[in-house]
Chain length 209, copies 2
Amino acid sequence: MPPKANPQSSEIPTPKGEEPGSPAQRDRRKRIIDATLALAASGGYNAVQMRAVADKAEVALGTLYRYFPSKVHLLVAGLAREFQQTRDKLERTTIPGDTPGDRLVFVLGKTTRALQRDPHLTEAMVRAFMFADTTAAAEVELVGGLMEDMFATAMGKKEPTEHDRAIFHLIADVWMANLIAWVSRRASASDVHQRLELSVRLLINGTSS
Amino acid sequence: MPPKANPQSSEIPTPKGEEPGSPAQRDRRKRIIDATLALAASGGYNAVQMRAVADKAEVALGTLYRYFPSKVHLLVAGLAREFQQTRDKLERTTIPGDTPGDRLVFVLGKTTRALQRDPHLTEAMVRAFMFADTTAAAEVELVGGLMEDMFATAMGKKEPTEHDRAIFHLIADVWMANLIAWVSRRASASDVHQRLELSVRLLINGTSS
DNA sequence: CACGATACTAGAACATGTTATAGTGCATGG
DNA sequence: CCATGCACTATAACATGTTCTAGTATCGTG
């Protein structure tokens, strides 16, 4: 009796709800992302070299590629893990601010400052995110979903409308574009903050005053 | 008698107003960008291989690197040339639309459709633009300036205020982010169009209806 | 337990961006 | 005219992402 439909063999898809694989595999995956983020934090995108990641994670190069088919996948998965943490923390916090817009600005500001505290790490993750090609589209969308979650949480919208989500998307675009500008030294931290605030004012509050 | 200040030797900076170098050099530079864009159009980012560019432009690899210090510089310079053309054409055209916002939407839509007619070329240029690191910041800013010019022209603002420019910047961010999403098949052409329209409505017109 | 499949390892091999080397031609100032 | 310096050429070398190969280990299943 062949199993009805279980085409998961030899594939390691992105974990959606449940963690896939044996405990040893989950551990390897964790070690790999740990190694990736450690290298990224120390020297940015260029320091994340596949051989170095494999060494530090104590897996063979081939194994690394079995888990993550490219450097970009790896770094975007790292960004996803970071954002998951951020989102989960957010969901357990009370966010200050009088209006939903204020709360969103608060969350954006706080998260941005946290990212800016680790410039190399941020550079590595954000550049990979932006550079991602079609083969990493799923991972990038995952991150997009996390940003949406964060914004929805910030604004206290448990079930955002289609219009809400469209706005979140725009804000995410502006956010990432400004982070890229910041990591390539085309924008200062205060530029980034001001632009985020302006976007939220115009996109959420609908006032330009 | 040393020349007062002419540190241009052995440097080939981005041409600002006037074209630098001998005619032969200007010709080489043109051939290089032509070759780059041709390869990009045929196979996208991956097809723009430095040896292939050098061959097609009939220069030695070392010469290619003397003109453009990296693949990203090369492709961003290509994008700059394309946008220069677009901007110049715009400045000679009458743009339809009842309001500045309408005209901006028109220009964004038209330019986006033009880019989408050459998916590989767009993929190559936009991914390089997003991936650019600090060493290519100047080239990226050049492109940013061209986008500002285009938007200002579209809206008939010959001398935009600081606030105008801030808004242009946000729209450019949204535009580029959506192009990236489009080239990596995370957004359809109509997604892109709708988001651009929404951004302009909210950022320029200040109405969400 | 024994077997077969799948996963892992070590290492080589390959692809392509980038840098370095040696030689050639050409233009420019003396 | 000549010497000097610079740009260009051809080519090799190097760095790192990615793929491939052969052997070994591990895991689930009859």
